[in-house]
Symmetry: C2
Subunit: 221 residues, 2 copies
Amino acid sequence: MSISPKMALLEEYALVARALSAPARLSILEQLAQGERGVEALAEKTGLTLANCSQHLQQLRRAALVTSRRDGKSVIYRLTDAKTLELMDRLRIVAERNLAQVERILRGLSGGEEAPEPVSRADLAARLAVGTVTVLDVRPADEYAEGHIPGARNVALPELEQILPTLSPDAEIVAYCRGPYCVYAHQAVAALRKHGLNARRLEGGLPEWREDGRPVLIEGE
Amino acid sequence: MSISPKMALLEEYALVARALSAPARLSILEQLAQGERGVEALAEKTGLTLANCSQHLQQLRRAALVTSRRDGKSVIYRLTDAKTLELMDRLRIVAERNLAQVERILRGLSGGEEAPEPVSRADLAARLAVGTVTVLDVRPADEYAEGHIPGARNVALPELEQILPTLSPDAEIVAYCRGPYCVYAHQAVAALRKHGLNARRLEGGLPEWREDGRPVLIEGE
DNA sequence: CTATCATTCAAGTCATCACTTGACTGATCT
DNA sequence: AGATCAGTCAAGTGATGACTTGAATGATAG
């Protein structure tokens, strides 16, 4: 006797949801959204041990969210499909709408202040075209080097304080980071606004910008 | 010592994903998409025992995907937010794109034949306006009575064979059911096509139709 | 061919989950 | 108040998951 096709389908959908049901794996997926990565790099960025990270990757592979290829001694993982990012974004949206806890955390990130609405990517592109905006890439330098919005200046969060004097109080500042799951841009905007600067977050991050088909500058090109 | 806000956020997102990670709960959510329901009705429709169903509902409530209210002796559950349906649809899309197993099951539902593209809801609305289409609601009668597309004829799957003679071979037939997770429309279309009829599925089901703001007829109105 | 490096596998531990059974609670009906 | 009905809770079981540690694999460098 075979199980019903309906249950079989639900099992498959549940398999994908289960892949997203551990914070560690969401963190890995966020990293992979920046670009393909070896296991060690992923383990370091996510703070997981190597073996643990490898096992999470196996689970992501079982759900077919990631694929791997061999490159010499290394195994390089990448997202199977950009649609996964949309799924993760819906997940965030539903969580933000329904869970009071999420709002509390986000407010905490903004230092208790009300954060301004984020700038849409289309909006930023338009402002970049006429040059009336300062764009800050607040990711770590290695990720910036791998690709960033043309014209963006890289300032990892710890260095933010130091560059404050170089920012004009009149300038319109837009900060971005890895994407909707990343808190760097939230924190950067909160810090900048505390110093009276006119800063806002970009909606989404570099992966979403790239997915829109907008230009991405790679270091050394 | 407090955990980082980032991990706290990821935990919340993972909580929502975990709520979607059991087939039983996906099944419950699909039912709730039809309309609010008591625990017993949900248990019956999903084939879960009462206690088990209740416990799944607690988990859905923890993730804030459903809310409940008391009505006399009964507790009525409903979806907190229609965005949840979008999330579930993305889940399905990602699963269909990445998992070969899903394609295999869907092909099996269609009797091995290649199923035609579904009809979009806008398309069906246009055809209904000019009256050149036969719409079949292939859900159980009680769900049809609770609301259906105006002009749709209710034929639960087991009765489909009997009404075949009443369908013209020239008519264009569109079948719909509960939504993207429901297999009834797939099966109905396969059966109809096997008899040489020109049948296609509607994209999505009644909840999506309603969510579009299109008219829904309730029995006895 | 041996050594090295990147990754995976295997085994074990502790926690959580799905499901069952049977007792419990809270609202209604008589 | 007692009986009844809808739903929840509590405890127990077997399965799965997250994480750790240490051994095994597979490709390259010497």
